[in-house]
Every structure is written in C-alpha cells, then in structure tokens.
Amino acid sequence: MNIVVAKNISKKFGDHQALDQVDLNIPQGAIFGLLGPNGAGKTTFIRIVNQIITNDEGEIYINDEKLASHHIRDIGYLPEERGLYKKMKVGEQLLYLARLKGVAKSEATKKINEWLTKFDLKEWKNKNIEDLSKGMQQKIQFIATIIHSPSLIILDEPFSGFDPINASLIKDEILKIRDQGSTIIFSTHRMESVEELCDHIALINRSKKILDGPKLAIKEQFRTNTFEVIHKGDISRLNPSDYDIGENIRFDGDTEKALIQIKNGNSPNHLLSDLIALTEVHGFTEKIPSINDIFIAKVKEENNHE
C-alpha cells in the first residue's frame, strides 16, 4: 500500500517550472529517497505535501485520502532551512510545536520527557535554546520533528548541518521509527549519504522525475556485468570479442586493478576461469553501480534523447 500517491504534480513559480507532471508512489513503511541535484524540485514537492504551498496541477493522496489540512497531524517535517526560537526554553518550545501539530498538552509533555531522557537532554529542559551547543540544538530539532509520532516523516537534506555523531544517532532512530511502522522520505542531493538507508528511490532532475522504484530493482536494471579484478600478470590476451577491458591501473605493489565487462552473456565464473589461465587473481568483485552512477548515466541518456 502507498502512503503517498502523487499524480501529475506541476508547479510553476513565475516563469520557472519547478515541477513538471511528476508522479510518485511512496510505499507504506518504506525509507524513500527523493534524490536529485540542487534546484531539481525536491523541496517544492515536499512543501506541497506539507501544504506550505499548493500545486498548480495534479492531486496528492495520503492513505487514499485527498490531501487535507488534518493531514498536518500525520506528517513530521524537518526542513532544509531549519531553526528554533533562540530565546525560548527547550521544554516550552517542544510543547509549543507539538501543540501546533494538535497534540494534547499532557500527552506532549510525556513524550517530551521521554525523548529528552533518551537523548540525555533532561537537565536542559528549562534552558534557552541559545544556551545549548549546536549538537544539542540539532537533537532538539529532530525531537521537534517526530514529537507528535507522525506516520510520515519528511527529512529535507537531513544530514547537512548535523555532525557525524548526531547523524548516526538520528539514522538509528529513523530505522527504529521505520520498524514501528512509519514511512520516511529522505530528500537529498548527496546521494551517497542515503544510499545504504533507502529501500525505494526516485530521481528528480530539472523538475521531472526520471526514475523511480525499489532500490535493488533499479540497481539490477543498471548492472553492466562489469567486474573489478585485482591481479598480478598480463590480461591483454583476453578475447576482445568476449570482454571489454575498461581500465587497468597499478593498484598496490605489483598488483593491478582492472575493470572488465562481460559482453557475450558469459557467467562470472567463465570470466574467472579465463583470467586464471592468464594471470594470478587477487580479488574479484562485481562492480555494482552506485545511485550516483545511475543518476549520471540516466541524465546523460535523457540529454541524448533531447
């Protein structure tokens, strides 16, 4: 089941087309990576889901219901441009933000205490935000995002500005929250940062969606049957009609690293046995494309079509 279904979303700012007929399905319980370079339209899409701005065309459904103001309660949002009231106390600030989301006071207070304890911030509850260190403020910011136990959590560039310790802490919490049944949308231009976390991805480039689906399926689709071989010897005598040798560079000491693509549908074992006949093999792994590689390949492909 899909928690978010976006159909044919378009949005224009003056002359600038920010989103152009984008369709997206975000499955329940997924960690969904919304990927693309800066200015591709990710934040615009997220703001539409958060009802900060409205789309010109298309429809958004949350749990099969047309997007409406009561959905605010179900969404937790960590914007890319984020901050807090500097002169407000930690506890009051969290309470205020939770109450704005529609959480009852007693429930919010209980949750705030739980989270502050979890993040070791209990004794800071009555301190102003400006008295906290940057790392602590980031934790508070994260608590504010999830204090109302949303079923959909949207994190825009979540790891920009978070220090590595907080980033990994938050990664762990996000995984826990996902396991409890929430759906998480990651939006980032740093594709490598979320590759390991996401199970679904969508690539957006220049206001258009260019690719989406389960991460593994996409990777499968973009496999090139290329293998990375670390060896000691001469591989130039490999049959060029069967194999394409990409690069062959000095690797470590007297070993070399070569990229070999199988052209004729042979199995990796076949390549390996051909190699063993010629050289001493030290390492043999399939070169799986990263999301970044896929993105670049895809953008090139799109540009060639134009």
């Binding site: 700012f13 003056g14 703001r47 958060n50 009802q51 900060i52 701005i53 409205t54 010109d56 605010i72 969404i75 949002y77 914007p79 441009e81 984020r82 901050g83 807090l84 009231y85 500097k86 002169k87 407000m88 205020y96 933000l97 109450r99 704005l100 989301k101 504010a144």
Partner: protein, 430 residues
Amino acid sequence: MNKIWLIIKREYFSRIRKKSFIIMSILGPLLFGGILVVPIWLATRDNPEKLVVVKDESGFFDHKLNANNIQFVYTTERIEHLLLQDSTILHIPPIDLKRTVDIFLYGENNHGIDFENRIKNSLERELRKIRLSRLGLNQGKLDSLNTRVNLQTKNSQTGEAEADSGVASIVGYIGAFAIYMFIFIYGAQVMRGVAEEKTNRIIEIIISSVKPFQLMMGKIVGIALVVLTQLTVWITLTSAIYLGISAYYSDEMKLLAETQSAQSTLSSPGMNKIEQAKMLSEVKDKIEGFPVFKTVFSFIFYFLAGYLMYAALFAMVGSAVDSMEDSQQFMLPITIPLIGSIIVLGAVLQDPHGSLAFWMSMIPLTSPVVMMMRVPFDVPDLELLLSMFLLIGGFISTTWFAGRVYRIGILMHGSKVNYKTLWKWFFMNN
C-alpha cells in the same frame, strides 16, 4: 482557531516575561509620576533666600522693593566702599522719571535670568506706582478699568456648552500622540518578530503546522494584548503613585493651592464672591461639555484599528527582508503617513473641522492619529462613524494585501527584494 490561540499565547507570554517589559512597566509610571510630582516638589522645596544690598540714591525705593526669595537690605554707604565687598549690590542712581532708567546690579557671578527678572519686575512695579500717583491715579482706580471677559462657546443646535478648547487640545494631543507612539513601537515589534522567525529559520516548521495568515494574525493580536496589558499596568501604577504622592504631599499641595489662589485674588482684587462662584460653575461647564465617553471610546477604537492596520504592514516588511538592515527601504512609505499625521496636528488644532482635518481623518492611514486629535472637539457622529468604517475597510484590505505578500516572503531567502518583487508576490499563487 485553537492554533491561533496557541500562537497568541506564545507571543503574549514570551513578551510579558521579558525583563524589558517589566522594566518598562515600572519605569513608565515613574516617568509619568515624575512629570506630575516634579513641579510640586520644585514649587515646595526651600530656595535659599538671596541677599541684595540696595544703594538707593534716587530716594524712590526705600524699603519698598520686594521679590520672591530675595531679601533687600538698604544701605547708605558709599558705592565705592560697597563694591569692595563681595555681596550682590543693586545701585540705583538718581532717576529722571521721564527717561529710560539705568540701574546697576553688581555681583561676582552671573545671577541667572530669573533672579534678574524678579529684581527688574519689582523695580518696574514701584516706578509705575510712582508715575501713576503723579498722574493722580492709584492702583484701585486702575483695577476698576479692567473688565473680565468670559467667552463661552455653545453648540448652536443643542445650546449646550461646548468643550473648552484648551482642555480639548490637551486631551486630543495626548491621545493622538499616544496612538502614534504605540503604533510605531509595537508595529516595529511585530516586524522584528516576523523577521526573527524568518532569519531563525523556524518559520518553515511553524507553517507546516499552521497557515501563514494564522501565524501573522496570532503575532499581531498577541502583541496587541501586550500593549493593552502595558497600558493597564501603567494606568494602575500611575494612579497609585499619584494618589500616594498627593496623600504624602497633601499639606504642601493645600499650601500651594492657597498661595496660588491668594496670588490670583491679589492680582484681581476687584473680583467679588459672586464672580468667584460664577467662575467655579464655568469650570464645571467646561468639564461637562467635554465628550468624555466618545473620546475614551474613540481612543480605544482608533488605537486598536490603527495598530492592527499598521501591524499588518510592518509584518509584511518583516517577511520580505533577510535582515533588519534591509527593512529601511520599505519603512519609508509606512512611516510617512504616520509622521505626516503628527505634522498636521498643529493645523488640525487651528481648525479642527476644516477640510484638511476632515480628509486626513477619513483616510485610513492617517485617520487614527488625526481623528483622535479632532474627537475632543466634538466631531459629528456621522463623520466619526464614516471614518471608523473606512478605517475598518483599510485594516481589512491592508491585512489582506500584507498577508498575501507575507506568505511568500517568509519562505524567500537570499533574493534581492524591491517593490516590484513585493507586487509579484502579491499576485503569486500559493
């Protein structure tokens, strides 16, 4: 609705608990109290009496000079000897009454204009008496020439006494100026609050929970409540201070009143008991002719509606800029009508029902201040209602306009903003 309430509460309490609010709440009444108390204190404190040695060679002034806080001592010593001493010496050479009289005041220091005036007045008073008696007149005959004229203003339709212009001017001016000050001070607070949310980057988190318009109105209303609280505290504290002080100084106050009335009876000894009673009833008339309820109601209305209208504009400016320094360019068109209405107050006072006063009290941007100046002069109800109606219209349209610019502006960072951009934002779809 519930969410607006939360915003109002946050805006209100975060300001009420600030140190600056508490300090201002206490300082304000002390300031007002000071304005009321200092003159009393100045009047009642003991001035050291100054000694002036008089060398009168004319023979006109022997033991006749008198002035407040100055003791005149007469001497026959030669002036050359006197000048060797370091006292203040008044040297009156022989006088020819037909000419300008030169009299000399010697002393080590400059005596101050007040001191010199008192001596001068005393000398002139005596010389006048001498001249009058030479003409065969005395003070009593002269006083009988003066007739007191009391110009009473009455409404031609109702025949009721009109408010005294003096009282009306003071009340109008204070009211108008208070509205001007409050709009400026608290409008700027709205602007700072909005700009703070924008630069803090908390804005996007908030408006993912509430509509931008709710946030803007919540802030404006919250700050309005702060103003009302401050006003209430000031009025309460000021009256408490005033009452306390007047109880403490009650004897001195009575004395002051007595000396004042004694002086006034002295200056017009011809006034008898009947006339005094008449004067008292006139004072009563002045206060009765004054439209108290209308003025108080108008003050509250024009203050609130004026503030709401300007606050929306200030909020718009705050939303458009990235930092407070950038706000200057947008402040000008907002401050011009406000300052303009203060500038024309003098002209309005000259002619409270003239065409300038009329039009400026109809235009919503100037009406809060200008109409407040006019109300104590008894503006016709219909005019007042029209002005209020227009102001409400002005408030709704500026808030609508400001709200549209605001909702876009708060999300815009780093772009160069000018009037054209604001205009574009106004028309932009959400």
